[in-house]
Symmetry: C2
C-alpha cells in the first residue's frame, strides 16, 4: 500500500492564494486497476494558469473542485504498472496533480526521454510552455521573418521561448520583463534585440524609442497595463496573441479592460485568444522542432528549480506572482 | 463666379460638438482647373466617424484641420466640367465636404445612377455604410450560414445592413438597438430573428435568454458597455468585427476598455479592427451585390433625411449621438 502526500484545494482563494487555500494530506492510494500505473512524482510544474483553475468560473478547463488534489503537470518514475504503455522505471509526464505519488491511467501519460532533456525542461520548453510559445507565435500571431515581435512576461517560461523562436525566425524581438537582471538576461544570453523593464515607465514610450514604426506582433502573457500600453505600439496589420494575463489573476476587484483597444481598428489589427490544448494533434511536430533547437543550442531552456516536498507547493507558487522566477518554475520533490 | 456656403472646423470640440465647433462661411470658389468639376451638392452623409475626424490624433485618416471645410461624403450634380469623366448634369458622389457647392477633381468622384437607387441610398446602403457592413460581415467576421450573429447599432446605417445580409446568408441574427420602436423595426420589417433594447438591461443576459449557446459573430458599432457585455456571450471560435465605438466618441475622459476581453482567450475568439477604405479595389463587387439585393427587395435601405441648408449640419450631426436617426442619416440641401 502506497501513501501519497497530496495538496488539495481547501478553499477558493480571494486574491493571492495563502495557507488557508490548501490542505496537505496523506492518503492511501488504491491498488492499481487495469491500464493504470503508480508514479513517483519527481518534478512538478508551477504555472500562472493554476491561479485560474482555482476560480469557480467557466473557462477552457473545469475549475479544480474544493477537496480535490490540485491539478498540476508533473514528471515522475513508474513504480508499478498494469499498463502496456509504461514499464517500471520509465520516466513519464502528464497531469499528475500536486502529490508525491499518484495512480494514473497509463494512456494519460507520455514517455519522457531524459537523454534529450532534463525533467525540468520536459516541464518547460518541451511541455505546455514551449508548445504555447510555438503555436502562439507561428499559428496564432503568424510571425514572419523581418517583423518586429514584442513579448511580455519575456523572462518567463513561455515568453523566453517565444523570443528565442522569433529571433531564430528572423524577427526583431523586444522583450518586456521586470527588473534589470531579467532584461539583461534576455539581451545578453537569449539574443533578444532589446528588452524593456516595465517597472521603469510606460511600455509604449520605451517601445517607440526602440521601434518607432511599431510592432507587428505582440505576444501577451501579462494583461493589465502592459497590454494596454502595448496596444499603443501596434503597426498596421498587427496581430496580438492573447496567451495569459498574469498581472490580473489575483485581482480582488474586476481588472480594467484595455482602454486602447480601438488601436485594433485604427491599425486594422487583431487580438486572438488561444489555448494550447487545442493543438494536441500537432504536439509531436512542435516537440520535434523544439528538441532539435535545444540540441543545436539555438534554444536555451532555463528553469528556476525549487527543492522541497509537496508542502512547499503553496509558497513556491507565489514566486510566479512576485516575479521571483526566471524561466520555467519547477518544484523538485 | 460661384459662391459656396461651407461649414468649416472652428475649434476642436471637447465632448459633443456644439455651435462653437463650426464656422459657416460663404466663399468664392476658384475657376475650374484642368480635370476639375463644379458640383452642386444635394445630399450630405452624416456619419459617426465624423466625430473621430475632429480629434487631433493619428487615425486611419488625417484629422480635419482647424479652418478646413468639414470632411463629408456627398451626392450632387455636375454644374460645369473640365473633366472627361463627368458631363454637366451628371449625378456624382464622393468626398464633397460640408458645402452646397464644391470644386472637385473629376477623378475623385464616382458616377451615381439614380435609376438604381435614390441619392440618400447612394450615401447609405450603396456607399461606405453598406460597404462597411458587407466587408465586415463576410471578410472580417467570416460569418457562415447557420451561425448566430449579434450586431450593435443595429438600427443604424451599418448595423441595419449587417443584419439583413446575415439573415439572407442563413445566419440567425440578433440586433441591439435603443428603444422599442427600433427593436420592433428590426424584427418586424427587417427580418431579424430577435432584437434587444440595450436600455432595458444587461445585453449579455438578454443574449443568453435568446441564444444560450452564445454567438459566433459580434459586429461592434458601439463599443463601451455593450461591447463588454457582448464579450460575455461569445461561443468557441467567435469572431468580433470591430467597426466603431459610437458610445465613446464624445467622451471627455478616457473610456474604460472592455473588462471581459479575456473571454477571447477562454473561447479561442478574435477581435479584429477594419477600415472599409482598405477594400477599395473590391467596392464594385460589393456594390453590384448590394444593388441586386435592393432590386429584388431582400435588402431594405432606410434613411432618415433631414432637409435644410449646410447651416443645419451641426445640429443634424448630433442626432447620431442621441439615437435620433433610424438607418442612414442624410442632410438634403
Amino acid at each position: 500500500m502506497t501513501v501519497a502526500r497530496q495538496v488539495r484545494l481547501r478553499a477558493r482563494p480571494v486574491g493571492l492564494p495563502d495557507a488557508g487555500t490548501w490542505d496537505v494530506v496523506d492518503t492511501e492510494l488504491p491498488a492499481l486497476g487495469d491500464g493504470e500505473v503508480l508514479v513517483r512524482v519527481t518534478h512538478l510544474s508551477l504555472d500562472p494558469a493554476m491561479r485560474g483553475w482555482l476560480n469557480d468560473v467557466r473557462s477552457y478547463v473545469p475549475p479544480v473542485g474544493v477537496g480535490e488534489v490540485m491539478r498540476a503537470f508533473g514528471v515522475g518514475t513508474v513504480l508499478a504498472s498494469r499498463s502496456p504503455e509504461h514499464a517500471v522505471g520509465d520516466a513519464v509526464s502528464g497531469i499528475t496533480g500536486v502529490a508525491d505519488h499518484a495512480v494514473l491511467r497509463g494512456s494519460d501519460l507520455s514517455p519522457v526521454d531524459l537523454a534529450v532533456a532534463s525533467a525540468p525542461t520536459w516541464l518547460g520548453a518541451l511541455s505546455m510552455p514551449g508548445l504555447t510559445a510555438w503555436f502562439g507565435l507561428f499559428d496564432v500571431a503568424r510571425a514572419r521573418p523581418g517583423e518586429t515581435v514584442l513579448v511580455s512576461g519575456a523572462a518567463g517560461a513561455v515568453g523566453s521561448v517565444v523570443g528565442q523562436l522569433a529571433t531564430a525566425h528572423g524577427c526583431r524581438v523586444i522583450g518586456i520583463a521586470g527588473g534589470p537582471e531579467k532584461t539583461r538576461w534576455l539581451t545578453d544570453e537569449l539574443g533578444f534585440d532589446a528588452a524593456i523593464d516595465y517597472r521603469e515607465g510606460a511600455v509604449h514610450r520605451a517601445v517607440r524609442a526602440i521601434a518607432p514604426e511599431g510592432v507587428d506582433v505582440y505576444f501577451d502573457n501579462v494583461g493589465g497595463e502592459v497590454l494596454d500600453s502595448a496596444l499603443r505600439t501596434l503597426r498596421r496589420g498587427a496581430r496580438i496573441a492573447l496567451c495569459g494575463a498574469i498581472s490580473t489573476y489575483n485581482a480582488t476587484e474586476p481588472a480594467p479592460g484595455p482602454a486602447h483597444y480601438m488601436s485594433l481598428l485604427v491599425n486594422r489589427a487583431s487580438m486572438t485568444g488561444f489555448v494550447v490544448f487545442d493543438y494536441e494533434d500537432r504536439y509531436p511536430e512542435a516537440i520535434a522542432d523544439l528538441s532539435a533547437r535545444l540540441r543545436d543550442g539555438s534554444l536555451v531552456a532555463r528553469e528556476t528549480v525549487v527543492r522541497g516536498g509537496v508542502d512547499a507547493f503553496g509558497d513556491t507558487l507565489l514566486m510566479l506572482f512576485d516575479g521571483g522566477n526566471t524561466g520555467k518554475l519547477v518544484l523538485e520533490l
